[in-house]
Symmetry: C2
Subunit: 388 residues, 2 copies
């Protein structure tokens, strides 16, 4: 186990009806709030009106920024920063999924910063403060509701980058599983893939002596595998939605399940290049890429892949070589993604082989990608080719 | 899963050498610190001097309160409150195990309170603020380093009660596994029992649809079972000490592993009556009592005990009745406690049957004890008798 610092100050308010606590939590921060949301489904479902009513009841003046994109864009973030600065707003409320929350974090950190917010993404500057932020989660997926990280796309440059800070942890997040009842099957599947791969990124590691962290990861993976198909088949199954919501939040909440473990994160980098150019859903890209990353790297520490196969997928190891056991686990991963309706190939989502090298080169822009195996541009291109 | 609120703002700084971060963390809070410690081992090992040096280097004036008892006492807490008030101290640093940290929390909450601090324990008042508190942990056991709870003994009244508050979560805790290398075998065993039973209290529950929480609990239990014997056999095994330290912290950190789950906590109440009169180590009392509580209650939800036996103790269920599987798990628990050197009977620790009814009556002072089975005074007395 490596040395580590863990600090996650986000307050989680979980369960049906928890929206009733929104007003009192928001009122702790400011009497002017910017409500950030996505494509408008929160208005159609009536959630937006409930949110506004809660805030008004606590004498909070509301402003709004809608239209956050599924891969949230820098231009929209800049717009949010402007609204806050010109209206003296002291609190941001993200109502939506990971994209809305991520955009809100970038806005929050960008407001007090003198330079351009993109500097945080290109690692030329670090946030030193942020406007306080709360969230009302409507999609189980990214874990952004309980961490300080955000992924932003600069569409003009086709670059999708991430940043993280202790200042951008939400002050509170309201997690009501019933708010995810209306999430369609494909988005539920992509969200499940996303959280599953967040655990993968922390699980496939060379760090030794981390038995608790490994088991915590396995606990989340098994719970996703059991509950995602139920939520897809029966969208208003409260228990399945609640279990998935908790899995998504725990899968990436500042590293709780992987304290002292060196994560990999190559596959997320590989996927980000795909969605930066083709604007596909992040979870769909991960579903395509991840099992192929596994095939490319599993021999780097085959015993971890053997453990994965046995403990997560109940692969019977008797009479099999380590190679066969590991490959059975990878195959089970692919079959699970397919079973819940996530794509397996780039071809399926309309991506051909014409820009693979360009994306591979961009993926290693900051140096070799990942830590389980340090990937060169050639490695990344091979993984793209395996994914065609 | 029940609705819940989870909020754990404690910053954990973990690993060998992490003490070097003490000064800068403490300096965020005050330039006057009260160092609270126990029987003096921290002075013998040289840790105290290192702590003072760190604080001095950051221009913090230090005061001290030593002699915190293993079951920390109200009289000592009152003394700490006095020292802080009369010297205008703005920060408390607990250096020790759960007892030292618990006493420090009661001091922290007591300082700004106009009445007597015991009111918090008797539930006649709730803290509304507290002096900021940091910890340097020297014993893996109670989890007090990452939660807001404390147990205090009123020796004059032979009463041992608990309180908890968001205000008494440590601001930071420094967890260096090497600081536990000198913990003797018996204390390592009691600490392991304590953390194991913290998980039990959250695992044996009637709450349904909590698959992730159950697996998280099982993860910690299995890791304790694997690592406690190693730490006892080889006290300076870094990996085993680090794994145990993480297990202790995660086992009781504001409910992370059991969000939305109704806990039981009857056995802790039953044990507190023992140590309030006989002053035995808390972990020793739990080792005696817990498996007998299990025998008394397991039929209330036998499937949870079956799952416990199979998943935690690898009991082979084939050809066995549920009753046999459950009992095999309980038996395995007893054998594990015995294997690491924790006592199995009250007789072993010199406690006879003369005050069992008195203790049973006191245990249900606030009403029936626990939730897995609501225990009456008669139930509690039966569990004491099973433990003789």
């Amino acid at each position: 186990m490596n040395n580590f610092t863990f600090h996650n100050p986000t307050k989680i308010i979980f369960g049906e009806g928890s929206l009733s606590q929104l007003g009192q939590e928001a009122a702790k921060h400011s009497n002017k709030a910017l409500i950030v949301y996505g494509g408008g489904s929160v208005k159609r479902t009536g959630l937006y009106d409930k949110v506004v009513a809660q805030l008004k009841e606590h004498h909070i003046e509301t402003f709004e920024l809608g239209g956050i994109e599924p891969n949230p864009r820098l231009a929209t973030v800049r717009k949010g920063i402007e609204i806050i600065r010109s209206n003296g707003i002291g609190f941001i409320l993200a109502v939506g999924g990971g994209s809305v929350i991520d955009a809100s974090k970038a806005i929050a950190a960008g407001v007090p910063y003198e330079g351009d917010v993109w500097d945080f993404l290109t690692r030329q500057a670090k946030p030193t403060s942020a406007v306080p932020l709360g969230t009302v989660l409507t999609l189980s997926a990214t874990g952004s509701e309980m961490n300080g990280g955000a992924v932003i796309t600069n569409w003009e440059e086709n670059r999708k980058l991430s940043f993280g800070s202790i200042y951008t942890f939400p002050k509170f997040s309201i997690l009501d599983p019933t708010l995810t009842f209306t999430v369609p099957a494909d988005q539920t599947a992509y969200g499940s893939v996303d959280m599953m791969t967040h655990v993968f990124e922390q699980y496939f590691s060379h760090t030794t002596d981390t038995p608790l962290q490994e088991r915590l990861c396995e606990s989340i993976m098994r719970t996703i595998v059991d509950n995602a198909p139920i939520a897809i088949a029966k969208p208003d199954d409260y228990a399945a939605r609640a279990n998935l919501m908790l899995c998504g939040t725990y899968a990436l909440n500042g590293g709780m399940i992987s304290v002292g473990v060196q994560g990999d994160w190559a596959s997320h980098g590989i996927e980000h290049e795909l969605s930066a150019i083709y604007d596909i859903p992040h979870g769909a890209g991960l579903s395509i890429v991840y099992p192929n990353w596994m095939k490319h790297v599993y021999r780097e520490r085959i015993e971890r892949f053997v453990q994965f196969a046995v403990r997560v997928w109940d692969v019977d190891p008797s009479g099999k070589t380590d190679d066969e056991i590991a490959m059975a686990g990878i195959q089970a991963t692919r079959e699970f993604f397919t079973r819940i309706g996530a794509p397996a190939t780039l071809t399926e989502v309309g991506i051909g082989d014409d820009r693979l090298k360009e994306m591979a080169d961009k993926a290693v822009h900051f140096g070799p990608l990942g830590s389980f195996k340090k990937l060169t541009s050639e490695d990344v291109e091979q993984i793209y080719r395996l994914s065609l």
